[in-house]
Amino acid sequence: MAICYREIHKLDLIADMYENAHKKRPDNEEILTAMFMAYVRLGNHKKQQQTAMTLHKLKPNKNPYYFWAIMSIVMQARNCTDKNLAQKMFLPLAERMTKKFVDEGKVEAEAEVQMYLIILELMEKWEDALNVLEGPLSEKLVSELNFKETKSTEFYTKLGRWKESNIAYRKLLCSNRDHMYWWREYINSALKLEEEKWLPPDDSKELVDYTGEKALSFIKECQEKDKGSRQERGPYLAHLELIKQAQKTICDPCRIYGDPVELLENYYIEFGDKFCCFSDLRAYLDILNTEEQSRLVECIMSKNQYKESDGTLIYVENIKQMQRHITCLQLCRCMSAHVKLTKDEKLELARELVDRHKNGLKFGKELLTTDLQFCDSYLLLAVALLLDVWQNHGENSLVWQIIVLLELGMKESPSSFQMKLLLIRLYCTMGAFGPCPALYDGMEIKYIMNDTLGHIVSNHVGRLGHFSSACAMYGTMLRFFTFNHKETAEYLIASYKFGSFTKIDEFVRFRDRLQHSLQYASATAERMLLDLVLETNSHVSTEQMIMYMEIDPAQDKTDFDALRDNRNFSVILSWDPTSICDVEKAKQHSYREEVAWLKIRNLTLRILAASVMLGQEIDHDHQMNNGLSKDGKQPIHNVLYDLKNKLSQHVQNCHEQFSQEYKYPIQGPFRTRLSTFLQGNYFPVFLEMLENVTYVHSLQDIDIDKIDDGKEERLKTSVTKMLKELLEKNKVCMIYDDNNCKSINPDIIENMVLLSEAISHLCVLFGVCYRMLKPVKTVLSRRNKKKKENILPIPCTFDNYNTLVKDVEKVCQEIHKTASELDPVFLSLDLSSLNLSQPFQDNNEYAEMEKEMWKSIEVSYQQSFVEITEFLHKKLQYLSGLHL
C-alpha cells in the first residue's frame, strides 16, 4: 500500500497509514521505522524527530535512532528561516544531545562523530570541533582519506590560526605535491603570517613558512624532488599562485618572487605538449600587465615558427609538437593576439589552421571512432577566428562556411561534442532546427543533462516551428524532473539508514535545486502552452485541455524567488579573454531575460485558463459571498482582471529593460524570444482582445442598457486592424539582398511562429466570447420567434462579434497563405544554387558537404513552414466553429 501511495505521489497518506498502525501497536519497531521514513519523504523534520525519539525510547540501545532524532533537529535548524532560532534553540539542543552521549561514552560509530562535527561546524564552534579531531573520538574517523588532517587544517584557517594551518598544509603537501587546494591554503597562510609580522620563538623547532619568501623556498624544494621522474605540475603552478595571491594582498604588481613571464614561459616549455596546459595557465595570465602579455606572446610564438620565409607552411612532425603549437595558439588568443588582427589576417590565419587540421589528421589514423582527433583544436581555433569575422564584420555568408567546415571535421572526429555543440548553435541561429535532434542525440544527453544542457535545443525547437519535435523534447525533459523528485527521496532514506549524515542536507538541497530549476519551469510553461494550442481545432477541445491541465489561474506554479539557473556553459570551449567574451556575465543577463520571458509565458497561460473558465462560468452556479465564491476563491473575472494588469505591467517593465537585444557570445546562452516578441508588437493585440472579453462579460446576460458604442466599435474592428498590421510586417522574403550578395533571413520563421501563436491565443479568447454570447442569443431569438409582438431588440454585440470573427478568419487565411508560400518547395528554391556562400575550400569533399548542408537546411525550413501551415489550418477550423 505504501508503494501505491508513493507511486501516486500521496506521500502524506503513507505517514497517516503508519500513524494509525502505530496507535494499534505502539511497541512495534518496524512500524515506527517505516513511519520515520515516511516523514523523511515528506520532509517533515519535526515529526521525524518525534518518531525517532519514540524509537529511541523503545530501543535505547540502538544508537542510530537517537542520532536520527539529532539529525532531524539539525535539519530543522537548516530549514528554519529564523537564523536566530536555529543558532539559539535547534543547534544547541542537538549539541547537548550529542554531548550527552559522548560524555556517557556511548558513541559507537564513525557517523556519530561526524554528526557531532556537523553540529559544531554549523555553530561555528571551531575550537570545540578541533578538540574532537584531536581527542579520542577521532579514532573512529577512518573512512575518508586524510579526513582528520584536512578537516583540522580547515578549522585552523577558520580560526585564523595561520601558524597551525601552515604547518598542517605543508605536511599534507609533502604527501601530495600536486594538490591545488592545499597549495592555495598553504600560500594563503604564509602570506597571512607575513602580514601579521609573525615570528617564531627562538627555540622553536617547528617548520613554519611565515613569509612569502619561505613559501617560495618550499615550492622550489618540491620542484627539485621531481627532477628525473614524472614532473608534477603542482609545484610549478604554486609559484605562479604565490605571485597571484601576493598581488592581491601585498603589492601589485609583485615581482619579488620572480618574473611571471619567465615562469609562464618555463611552464609552457615543460608542459606545453599536454592538452591541459592552456587551462592550467589561463587563470595566471592576468597576473601580467599588457606589456608583459605581449612579451610572453612573442616568446612562445618564436618557439613555434612553422613557416618558411616565403610563407609556405611547415607542418609539425609529431603529436607532441602539434599540441605544443596548439597550446601556443590558445594562449596567444587568450592574450588578445587575435583581436589585433585585421579581417583579412584573421581569414588568412583561419585558412592556415584549417590546412594544418587537415594535415594533422594523419596522426590519428589508428584512432577509434570514440577517440577525438589530436588536431581537432586547430579546426576549432580556425572556427573561432571565422566567428570573430562573422560577428564583427557582419559577413553572413561566413556562417555557412563554418558549418561546412565543422561538418567535415565531425566526419573525422565523430565524438567531438565541441563541434556538435557549435553546430547546433549555428544551425539554430540560422533558423534551421532540422539537423539538431540527430546532433543532440549523438551526444547522448540524458538524465541530469536535460537540466544542464537541455537549453541548447529547448530555446529553439518551438521558436523555429518544429512543434512535434518540441513536444517530444519537452516531454523527455519533464519526465526527468518529475521522476527525480520521487527517486531522490529514497536516497535521503538510504542516507539515514547508512548513517551518511553529511549527505542528508546535501540531498535535500540537491532536490530543491532540481525542483526549482529554471529549465524545469520553462519547459513546463512551453509544453503547456504548446499543448493548449497545437492540437486544438475547436473551443470544446480547448476547454477539455484546460480542465486536464489543472491550472489554478490565481496561483503561479513557479516560485520565482527560489528559481535556480542550472545551465552549464563552461562545457563549450572558449579561448577568448574575459574582456571580450565573458560567459559568466552573459549567463547572468540571460537568466534575468529568461525569468522575464517565463513570467510572460506563465501569465499568458493563466490568463488563457482564467478566460476559458470565465466562459464556462455560465454552466456553474457561482454564489457569491463577500466577493468570494462559495469555495472561498476569488471570482474568476477578478482573477482575470488582476492577471491582465500584471501582464501589462510586466510587459511594460520588459520594454524598459529588454527591448535592446543583448549580444550573447556564441559560446554562451542564446537569447529568448522576448525581444522579438516586444519589437513585433504581439502583446497589444492580445491585450486588446482581453479588453473585449472583459467588455462582453460586463454586459452580463447582454443588458441592452450597458451597451457602449465605443466598445462595440472596438470589438468589431480593432483586433482585425492590428492583426493586419502584424501580417504586413511579416510579409518579407526569405532571401534578401545584403550588400549585393544574397542572404537568408532566418528571423522570418520565428516571427511567423509568434504570429501563429498570437492567432491561436486570440482563438481561445474568441471562443470565450462565443461561450458567453451564444446562450443569450439562443434565448433571445427563441423568445422573439414565439412572441410576435413585444419583440426584444437584438443587441449589436452579436453582429459586431460575428464581423470580428469573419474578418480575423480572412486575415488568418492570408497568414496561412503567406506561410505556405515561404516553404522552399513551394518557391522551388534550390538553396545550393543561390550562391549564398563562397566555398571556403576548393575541393570535392567541401563541395559535397556544402550541397548536403543546403539540402538539410532546405528540409528544415520546409518542415517549419509545413508545421506552421498545419497549425494555422487547425486555427481556421477553430474559427469556423465560432460564428454565432
Binding site: L145, T452, S495
Partner: protein
C-alpha cells in the same frame, strides 16, 4: 595540479565535459545517489586549477568473509586531462581506502576490447582473475575481464589466483 575531494551532488551539474565523452556513461540519479549515500568516501572527483572537472572514480566495499573487497564501479578522465597519471592516482586512493577497511582485494570489470584500460590496470598491479561472458550488453554483447589486485590483508595473495574457466554473469556473486 589537481584537487581530489569527495564527489557532491553539485558536481552532477558540471560534469558534462567528462560525461559527453562517448565511453563515459551517464546514469540516472539513483545510481549516483546510491553511491553517495552508501559509500561517500569511495566516490571521488578530481578538479583542475581552473575548476574544471578532470575525472572521477566511483567505488564501494562489499562481500563476506575473505571475499570482503573494494570494487571500482566507474573510472573516467576527461579527454584533455588524460596521460597525466590521474587515473592511477584515483585508483591508488581507492586502494588505500580499501586497505583501511581491511579489504582483501580490489576488483573491477573492463571490456576485453578496451586495450588501453586493460594495459593501464596491468601496470597498476591488476591481473585478470576471470573472464565474464557477455557481461556488457549492446548491439553485440561483449565479454568482460574481472581484474583483481590483492591488498596487504591477503598475505598469500589467494584472491588473485586466476580462475581457470570463464563464468557467466549470472554466476557472479
Amino acid at each position: 595540479m589537481t584537487t581530489i575531494r569527495q564527489f557532491t551532488c553539485d558536481d552532477l551539474f558540471r560534469f558534462n565535459n567528462v560525461n559527453l565523452d562517448p565511453l563515459t556513461e551517464t546514469y540516472g540519479l539513483p545510481f549516483y545517489m546510491q553511491y553517495m549515500a552508501h559509500w561517500p568516501e569511495y566516490f571521488q572527483i578530481a578538479e583542475s586549477p581552473s575548476g574544471d572537472i578532470m575525472g572521477y572514480i566511483m567505488g564501494k566495499a562489499e562481500g563476506n568473509g575473505d571475499n570482503w573487497h573494494g570494487h571500482v564501479t566507474a573510472l573516467t578522465v576527461a579527454p584533455e586531462y588524460r596521460r597525466l597519471g590521474l587515473a592511477a592516482k584515483l585508483m591508488s586512493n581507492l586502494e588505500e581506502i580499501s586497505e583501511k577497511k581491511r579489504c582483501f582485494f580490489v576488483d573491477l570489470f573492463v571490456r576485453v576490447s578496451n586495450k588501453v584500460a586493460v594495459d593501464m590496470y596491468n601496470k597498476l598491479g591488476y591481473s585478470v582473475y576471470r573472464r565474464v561472458i557477455e557481461y556488457y550488453s549492446g548491439d553485440v554483447d561483449e565479454d568482460a575481464f574481472d581484474m583483481r589486485k590483492a591488498l596487504s590483508r591477503d598475505v598469500e595473495k589467494k584472491s588473485v589466483v586466476p580462475l581457470g574457466h570463464p563464468v557467466r554473469p549470472e554466476e557472479l556473486d
